[in-house]
C-alpha cells in the first residue's frame, strides 16, 4: 500500500517544520515504509458502514460564566521565553532573504 520515498520524507519533514539531516532521510524512509505497511492492516476491517470514533467519551461544548479569573502576569508569561524585549516575545524576522 505504501512506498515512502526519500523525497516524500523530506516533504513531510518540511510540512512538520523539522530540518532533518541526509542520514535521517535514509533511516526514516525505510522505517516509515515498514510502519505504514504494518498499520495499513486497519483497512482490512474498516468497512463503509462503520462510523468513526474520535473520542471515547461524547464531547460537548463546555461553557463557563464569562467572568474574569486570575491568569498569568505578563512577567510569568514571558518567564520561559527564549528571548523577550520590552515586555514582549522577541521573534526572529518573519520574512526570508528572498522575500
Amino acid at each position: 500500500m505504501s512506498n515512502i520515498s526519500r523525497d516524500e520524507v523530506a516533504h513531510l519533514a518540511k510540512l512538520a517544520r523539522m530540518a532533518v539531516t541526509e542520514e535521517e532521510l535514509d533511516v526514516f524512509a525505510g522505517q516509515l515504509d515498514q510502519i505504514l505497511d504494518a498499520v495499513a492492516k486497519v483497512g482490512e476491517v474498516a468497512a463503509d458502514d462503520i462510523p468513526p470514533t474520535s473520542h471515547a467519551v461524547p464531547l460537548t461544548n463546555v461553557f463557563r460564566e464569562d467572568v474574569v479569573r486570575p491568569g498569568l502576569t505578563q512577567q510569568e508569561a514571558l518567564a520561559g521565553a527564549p528571548a523577550a524585549e520590552e515586555g514582549r516575545f522577541r521573534v526572529p524576522r518573519i520574512l526570508g532573504e528572498e522575500q
Binding site: 486497519v42 516575545f89 521573534v91 526570508g96
Partner: protein, 501 residues
C-alpha cells in the same frame, strides 16, 4: 528502627498521622535512599529536596496543632512523572526541547496532590513526550530496571515504575496513552492503573495524544494505588473531557477485594491475547493467574474480542496523528528551546532547526507518520480507517462486558527486554503495548497487578485487568484479591545498596 522506605503508603500514613514518625523523617529517608541508589537506577530527572521537606514540615505542623490530616495519604512522599507541570520546578517531558523550562503553573494532578498533603519528591524519567515503551527515548539517558539493571523498566513511565521497585518512593504518578502506566508496572513488579478516560484531569498534562492520554496512580500495593486514585480523580472544569460523575469507590473496593472472596465475579479471558509472540513464562504465569482467580470464587469464561488485534495498527495511526498536531506548539517562540537565532535565520528556519535539534528520533518518526496519515489523499485510508477500528474495538468491549464483569490478559507479551535490544526496530518496540492499547482506544479502565516471576528468566510478570468505563472499582476488587492470594513480590527485588553506576 524500621526502614521507612520499605513500608507501604498506607502504613506510612498511619504512622505519620498517629505521630509515631514525622513526615519530615519519612521524606528524608526517601531522599537518602534516592541519593544512595539513583545513580544506578536513574529514575529521577530532578529531585526537589527543599520543596519536599517544606511540604513535609507543613503536614507535620498541621498534625502537631491537632488538625485532621488533609487526606488519608497526607505526609506520604511521591514521585511525579515529568510530563505533569509543577510551578517553578523543572518539567522536561524527557526532551531537550523543554530542558530548562520552569512551568508558570501546576497541573490539576499536581495541585490535588499538594492539597492532599502528598509530598512531591521530584520528577521521574520518561520516554520523550511519553512516546516509547522502554524509557530509552529520554533525552537524558535511560532508566534501569531495579530487577536487572541491564533491562528496561518499561515506558514511557519507566522512571515512576523504577522509583517504586527501587524503594525510592512508595507512590508515583504515571500517564498512560497506550500502556505507559501498565507496561512499566508489569515489568517492575508494581501496580499501575489507567483510570477511565476523563476520570483524572488532563489540565497541565503535556499533551501527546489528547483523546488517549490519561494520568493515573502507580504504587507497590493495590490499596496504595486506590488511595492515590481517590486523591487525584474527580471532575475538573479546566479539562473539557473531564467526566462530571462521582469517583468510583476504589478504596472500598480494594478493601473488599483484600478479603480474598471473588464469588459472583465473572471474569473473561481474552482469547486473542495468547499464542505466537507471547513468552512461554508469561503465558504460564497468566494461566496460573486465571486458575487462582477461579480458586478465589470467580466464574471464568473465555471471551473473544476479534478486533483487538487491530488495536495496535489503529493506535499507531491515531496517536501519531494527534501528536503531530499537539507538538506543533513547540515552535521556539514562546517557551522552550530556540537555536540559530543569530539574525541570519528567519522565524521559519529557526523553528525547523530548533525542532530538529530538540526532538529525538522517535518523536520525529511519529510527527512525520502523523503528518502523513492526516494529509489529503491518505486521510481516509489511514486516519479515517483507524477511527473506524476504534469503533469496532469499543463494540467488542461492550459485547464482552455484557457477559463478564472484568476482562483479563497478560499486561505485555514479554518480561523486561534488554536495554538497546529494540531501540533500532520501532515495530518490535511497539509490540510491548499490544495488550494495553485497546483500553486506551475505548477509554475504559485497566490495571496491571504483579503476577509473580516468569519461570524462564525470573523477571516480573503482570496481570492486566480491564473494566468498563466508570467501573474502575472492579479493577481494585479483583486486583486486591489476586494480590493477597499471590503474596508479596517486591521483597525479592535484588538489593541495590552500595551499587555504583
Amino acid at each position: 528502627m524500621t526502614d521507612l522506605t520499605r513500608l507501604t503508603a498506607a502504613e506510612l500514613a498511619a504512622k505519620i498521622h498517629a505521630r509515631e514518625v514525622t513526615s519530615v523523617e519519612v521524606t528524608q529517608a526517601h531522599l537518602d535512599r534516592i541519593a544512595e541508589v539513583d545513580d544506578a537506577v536513574h529514575a529521577f530527572l530532578h529531585v526537589d529536596a527543599e520543596g519536599a521537606l517544606e511540604a513535609a514540615r507543613s503536614v507535620d505542623g498541621d498534625l502537631a496543632e491537632g488538625r485532621q490530616p488533609a487526606s488519608p495519604i497526607a505526609g506520604v512522599p511521591l514521585a511525579l512523572k515529568d510530563v505533569l507541570t509543577t510551578k517553578g520546578v523543572p518539567t522536561t517531558c524527557g526532551s531537550k526541547t523543554l530542558e530548562n523550562w520552569l512551568p508558570p503553573y501546576d497541573s490539576t494532578v499536581t495541585r490535588r496532590l499538594r492539597k492532599a498533603g502528598v509530598v512531591i519528591l521530584g520528577k521521574t524519567n520518561m520516554d520523550e513526550f511519553a512516546m516509547g515503551s522502554s524509557t530509552e527515548n529520554s533525552a537524558f539517558g535511560p532508566t534501569r530496571n531495579p530487577w536487572d539493571r541491564d533491562r528496561i523498566p518499561g515506558g514511557s513511565g519507566g522512571g515512576s515504575s523504577a522509583s517504586l521497585a527501587a524503594f525510592e518512593a512508595p507512590l508515583a504518578i504515571g500517564t498512560d496513552t497506550g500502556g505507559s502506566i501498565r507496561q512499566p508496572a508489569s515489568v517492575t513488579g508494581t501496580v499501575g492503573v489507567k483510570p477511565t478516560y476523563g476520570g483524572v484531569s488532563r489540565y497541565g498534562l503535556v499533551a501527546f495524544s489528547s483523546s488517549l492520554d490519561q494520568a493515573g496512580p502507580c504504587a507497590r500495593t493495590v490499596t496504595d494505588a486506590a488511595l492515590l486514585h481517590e486523591a487525584i480523580a474527580g471532575h475538573d472544569p479546566l479539562d473539557s473531557t473531564s467526566v462530571n460523575v462521582p469517583v468510583p469507590p476504589v478504596v472500598e473496593a480494594a478493601r473488599q477485594g483484600a478479603t480474598g472472596d471473588l464469588k459472583g465475579v465473572r471474569v473473561g479471558v481474552v482469547t486473542e491475547f495468547a499464542g505466537e509472540g507471547y513468552q512461554p513464562g508469561v503465558q504460564r504465569s497468566f494461566e496460573a493467574a486465571v486458575a487462582q482467580l477461579r480458586e478465589l470464587g470467580a466464574e471464568v469464561v473465555e471471551v473473544s474480542c476479534p478486533h483487538f488485534t487491530y488495536a495496535l495498527p489503529a493506535y499507531y495511526l491515531i496517536a501519531p496523528s494527534e501528536c503531530s498536531s499537539n507538538l506543533a506548539r513547540f515552535d521556539a517562540m514562546r517557551y522552550g528551546l530556540r537555536v540559530a537565532d543569530d539574525g541570519d535565520h528567519s522565524a521559519e528556519e529557526v523553528m525547523s532547526l530548533t525542532r530538529e535539534a530538540g526532538f529525538g528520533a522517535e518523536v520525529k518518526r511519529r510527527i512525520m507518520l502523523g503528518t502523513y496519515a492526516l494529509s489529503s489523499g491518505y486521510y481516509d485510508a489511514y486516519y479515517g480507517s483507524a477511527q473506524k477500528v476504534r469503533t469496532l474495538i469499543t463494540r467488542d468491549f461492550t459485547a464482552a462486558f455484557e457477559q463478564v464483569d472484568v476482562l483479563v490478559s497478560p499486561t505485555t507479551p514479554t518480561t523486561a527486554f534488554r536495554i538497546g535490544e529494540r531501540v533500532d526496530d520501532p515495530l518490535a518496540m511497539y509490540l510491548a503495548d499490544l495488550c494495553t492499547i485497546p483500553s486506551n482506544l475505548a477509554g475504559n479502565a485497566a490495571m496491571s497487578v504483579p503476577s509473580g516471576l516468569s519461570e524462564d528468566d525470573g523477571l516480573p510478570v503482570g496481570l492486566q485487568i480491564m473494566a468498563p468505563a466508570l467501573a474502575d472499582d472492579r479493577l481494585y476488587r479483583v486486583g486486591a484479591a489476586y494480590e493477597v492470594a499471590r503474596g508479596p513480590l517486591l521483597d525479592r527485588v535484588p538489593e541495590l545498596k552500595g551499587v555504583s553506576a
